[in-house]
Symmetry: D2
Amino acid sequence: MVVIMNADAPERQVEEVIGKLNGYGFDVHRSTGVRQTVLGAIGVKPDFDIRHIKVLEGVSDVYRVTTPYKFASRTWKKENTVIDVDGLSVGGDELIIMAGPCSIESEEQIEVSAAVVAATGAQVLRGGAYKPRSSPYAFQGLGVPGLKMIREAADRHGLKVITEVMEINQIEIVATYADILQIGARNMQNFSMLRELGKVDKPIFLKRGLSSTFEEWIMSAEYIIANGNPNVMFCERGIRTFETYTRNTLDLSAVPVIKQKSHLPIIVDPSHGVGIRDKVAPLARAGVAVGADGLMIEIHPDPPTAKSDGPQSLYFNQFREMMQELRMIAQIVGRTLPEPALVA
Amino acid sequence: MVVIMNADAPERQVEEVIGKLNGYGFDVHRSTGVRQTVLGAIGVKPDFDIRHIKVLEGVSDVYRVTTPYKFASRTWKKENTVIDVDGLSVGGDELIIMAGPCSIESEEQIEVSAAVVAATGAQVLRGGAYKPRSSPYAFQGLGVPGLKMIREAADRHGLKVITEVMEINQIEIVATYADILQIGARNMQNFSMLRELGKVDKPIFLKRGLSSTFEEWIMSAEYIIANGNPNVMFCERGIRTFETYTRNTLDLSAVPVIKQKSHLPIIVDPSHGVGIRDKVAPLARAGVAVGADGLMIEIHPDPPTAKSDGPQSLYFNQFREMMQELRMIAQIVGRTLPEPALVA
Amino acid sequence: MVVIMNADAPERQVEEVIGKLNGYGFDVHRSTGVRQTVLGAIGVKPDFDIRHIKVLEGVSDVYRVTTPYKFASRTWKKENTVIDVDGLSVGGDELIIMAGPCSIESEEQIEVSAAVVAATGAQVLRGGAYKPRSSPYAFQGLGVPGLKMIREAADRHGLKVITEVMEINQIEIVATYADILQIGARNMQNFSMLRELGKVDKPIFLKRGLSSTFEEWIMSAEYIIANGNPNVMFCERGIRTFETYTRNTLDLSAVPVIKQKSHLPIIVDPSHGVGIRDKVAPLARAGVAVGADGLMIEIHPDPPTAKSDGPQSLYFNQFREMMQELRMIAQIVGRTLPEPALVA
Amino acid sequence: MVVIMNADAPERQVEEVIGKLNGYGFDVHRSTGVRQTVLGAIGVKPDFDIRHIKVLEGVSDVYRVTTPYKFASRTWKKENTVIDVDGLSVGGDELIIMAGPCSIESEEQIEVSAAVVAATGAQVLRGGAYKPRSSPYAFQGLGVPGLKMIREAADRHGLKVITEVMEINQIEIVATYADILQIGARNMQNFSMLRELGKVDKPIFLKRGLSSTFEEWIMSAEYIIANGNPNVMFCERGIRTFETYTRNTLDLSAVPVIKQKSHLPIIVDPSHGVGIRDKVAPLARAGVAVGADGLMIEIHPDPPTAKSDGPQSLYFNQFREMMQELRMIAQIVGRTLPEPALVA
């Protein structure tokens, strides 16, 4: 922690601040400049609330000099973390595409979706069995029967499964059926749940909160890792800004920033990021070009009848075309994407 | 729902949109103007995703004309809801002050706090037993022993108790000890929990999410009411903006806006709203002046040693002085505040 | 400037950073802790771009420890600045109310407005002759004839005049007629104009930009003062956030924050801040309660026919009532407001 | 305009609203549904303030159904506008790269920059002679001598010139030397200047304001076009959000959104968008992948000594490498980029 004293702070105030810092257990290095005094407080207290010092008399500003996270940081681990998802590597050379419907609606719907996902060379099937809906009157998901449907469809087509967990009580059952557990944006700071996710032996897919800073996001990953589960991947899905025409504002700078600050993989979700079907493909291309480790894409056999998020879901043929473009851009940025199956 | 067609949309497109609307179960009224056609779609479907129509060819814009909430709206209930908290009325003429430490730390700490709260004329004792902390390494609260301490301290001084519930599994135990259940900003859209709160027979104190719109906030109240619990009060505690000097940006316009759109009470929390001790009192005064039904204030017997949020907690004497000012402003806006006890 | 090196930065990197700092003209104090090295760079370079150091190898973070402004800071001048507006003191004990129509529309309109303003005890008449309009097709103001009208109406009723300057070429003529020059939110960082305003001998009323931080706002005041004009008052008029129901989000924390960081007066404009007539009075009351030096209020003899901002303008009787409430709240926070004339 | 009445609005209120609408010159179509009445108000009044109707009794909501802009809209002109910049086409198949230093600092600096720009196949030389600086104490640009330097350097290398205009009084001189006039983010709503830019016969490069919505941005283009100059190109350069790690949040969804709503070209500026050198190339690649008509990039012969924005300027070799990648991505999205010269 660095404490900047006011230009005119009298010696008495400087000494009081030093005394307080010592009281909190810090060693203090003092630099007295021509204009002002700067105090360096040394000590490992990741959760110290720096406002305790900010409110003292004579203090101009206080800065934390250590990041509040450790295990999730690039300082802790230099090389990229490659997460093994039952044989599939996330965070390595291969670009990972997770696609499927917003909600699992029926056996047939998830089966035809899985067939298309596999045929294009994508590796992971997505689909929600528990849906966080802002209206209590909206479709809330099929629950366990939905989990069974997506597992079986994925298995038939050699895909991995990612699906969302909405509450602590669902973790166990979802972990039984899914390969990756998705945490929604509104649960990114559900600290009770983060703690429990640390005890699971499946990788966690952590969406960025609607108004979450990069640091808060990494701290949520730290929560999970500190509780025992090192396999966390980030997902940028758009933040809330003043602009209302797009559903959210997709922040693609998240990719190079997270890659600098953390060793964990990062996936981009352009479907929620922009929320309008005809803008998904351009932003998916941008997501690959910016260097993401993968993408999450919503598709549906018949978007106008989808029970949720139909308007941002791609038609199957749009998805197939997009995958061709993504494959070419992937190569330019040094990534591979499996070839599509001969019969799609 | 109102659908605005493009100025140059051909008749074929207009008819297709009308067909789709009928297919979704809406009656359609058509207005053909000189420049464009406007369609009014009538039908009660509170959870219909208007983007289904937005993506159709020839459509310029679509507006929902009914609010997505019902029971929480001023249209549903004209008169103000006054919530009975075991004999104390929230939302009536009396200004309600909820005060106490951020965290319950010890029997003595909560006892001296309760004594001061009661002596100033405030009515409710606050204090957290379960703490949502952004760091996994920070103090997480005393749990059930803390709940017992706050209940006993409140009872000794004739105060009501408000405390936070962080997860579904805590609802039952917290409802045993508290008079009002507080839901934190990060849980405002924890839909699974909102559903369970609908089944509780204690009033709910619903903090505004960090980046929640007024409508989303009211929708979260609707979730609780629709599931059976009509006693919800709102709490404005600041939103996230580009400004970082203050912890949040306290949005006092929330008070007149919520009072217009809903019949439920609204409380202002200046402590979290601004996050810096010496700015709490000015914003508390403003909260009363703008017409809030009450305030929530953090105080501590010795803020520098508080286990959480000390820097935004008032010293007891600051709180006493502030209460005098609030009492005078309350009168001007037609509110009462109980007189302080003779011996404080 | 304080430079925090990475925990694992080798000695070579630390020395290179020290070398660069010396090259830029800074004296460097080095603190070597157990975990990392912290460098204090001393030297008066208010416009140094700290990103020059941030991009160096081994650097974790860099903090500016001096504010980039000087003359506008509370450090430079401890006591409040009281601006003399031709005999009227802004920033002293007297609460200043500036009221009038958004646009000057006619001699009659401004005359009846002036009469009401004066009768309530308010001191300054507002009204725009040059209007910044987001549409090129909207009413753009009366120009010089409007300036004459507002001056004459104000003089007849013993009021001061405030009106907006939109471009450098208007400064001279506006300064001829007005007592205070208003700078709109969209011009807060029109640096060319700020420079010219430094050469004027009339006080400047500097509205906060739509997405301006407190620091940027104070820097704009610094621009004016550094160029020769020390008489600047701030005006909080709401910032842009994700919330769209209100026109802007009025940030009342600006008042205690600006009062801490600067010695200059600050006025609150609830009319633009909330943009809806029936919410102006509650927020005006809150503005006085929070400690503002004054308010700016839009009123109109017949709001529905106003050429601009009618929907946020108060009717005369609403304004009169509100002034009574404000007078009472002013007393509680230690301010005075002149008594209304006997015949209003 | 569409007016939604309250569900329980009595007939008297409906009739009063209709009367008011007629009074403002609108024809009214009435739809009476089971739950509420909807009024369609027809009439061409692009600048009508809909809040006039919003404040009437019984009105629930009001929506504008026509865009406030006309000439800038895709409805007005279906095909893309291709702007001829003295022989260079902006908005056509060719991807346009504008590169150069932030500030013109010396003849030598701009000459070596121009040589590199031309050698890579880029077409436009950028460089500021008038600099908008948030500090009055920072370097303000070379002025007219700078304009001469950039013109001569560009001519020697067959490049076009883009440079910024900060105030009305500079328009004439800048138009003498530059091929494209750049308007900075902070001037996007400098309405007086927009009006004057309508009278210039050079193309305008209109940066998005820090907190400008898409609609406000297009309205600013409309201002210029309505005043006589149809050659406007947009530039996305990042918006202000709660995230402070990056300088701004580059909103790449702006590209597909603007292309849908307007026929004008759009350029992406990743240098200001992210503000940190090592993140410029990834976002530049994303900008091409998302479909922008071009990019603006800051480069400098020696970034650490640059007089402004050095930390976000690329080294020449970084720029050359990036251009190779951009050329490949351009092909995938159907764009061309001139081949680099043999000797770079």
